[in-house]
Symmetry: C2
Subunit: 131 residues, 2 copies
Amino acid sequence: MKYSQATDYALHAMLYLVDEAPDKPVSVQLLAEKLGVSQTYLSKMLTKLVKAGLIHSISGANGGYRLKRSQEDISFLDVIQAIEGTASLFECSFNHRNECLIQQVVVEAELQMEQFLKSKKIADLAKQVKG
Amino acid sequence: MKYSQATDYALHAMLYLVDEAPDKPVSVQLLAEKLGVSQTYLSKMLTKLVKAGLIHSISGANGGYRLKRSQEDISFLDVIQAIEGTASLFECSFNHRNECLIQQVVVEAELQMEQFLKSKKIADLAKQVKG
DNA sequence: CGAATACAGACTTTATTCATCTATAATAAC
DNA sequence: GTTATTATAGATGAATAAAGTCTGTATTCG
């Protein structure tokens, strides 16, 4: 089990936006260059981030991607779930009478992780980079 | 990102062993029947559990799988890592100067989950089933 | 208009998961 | 010691998902 590389790209792209370009839009071209990733592939992730409401896109010349106002509140969990989806990482495939006790434990464990990822904001890291 | 079905099978197999047959060995055939899974596939997972030191295997007639002595101490994490491996679920693919701050956060989050899974023992569930 | 940008969908390639089959090794029962 | 019963190992195949490319369309600035 592993997070997809897409999540890795998305997190780094977000950190770049928060860190170096919080106001003016950045094109996929530039972002892809900075990260050393292909434009077309990166754009898929950015589109997901737009749909998740984390960033804003501007079409046309001088367009690109810009953070939403609420930058300070964007958490790791927001970015990860935008890319990976929100489905539980464990799904019991058996037919128990009631709920599966095993699943309950694993899901609760997952919540521990999510709670932590929710408390960590991308902006915190940006500060750390600069400081 | 999802845990493999193999993990699901392994956890249920372990619960069965703890719950209904803590002393005498159970064959793959019976286990597979109980779980409604193919023998050959299930046996791969059981072999992994053996190599991880969680259960004991006995060849030959009337053989099968039996729990190790330390049954009370077998945690969810033990079983999951026996199947999924112990690699981190996030691996930054970029070349930073030092460590990747993003990776540090995600790995720390993962530790939160693992700590929880380590504290939950299979035997606790067995009690819950019976009680 | 024309260039620069994002967006969407089809498509390909590669990797992983899921599963089966076959053969080998170990051991208990007879 | 032979036979039946069990686990183990490895090769193989099918299905699914991840990673990445290509092409075309829509939007907007100059």
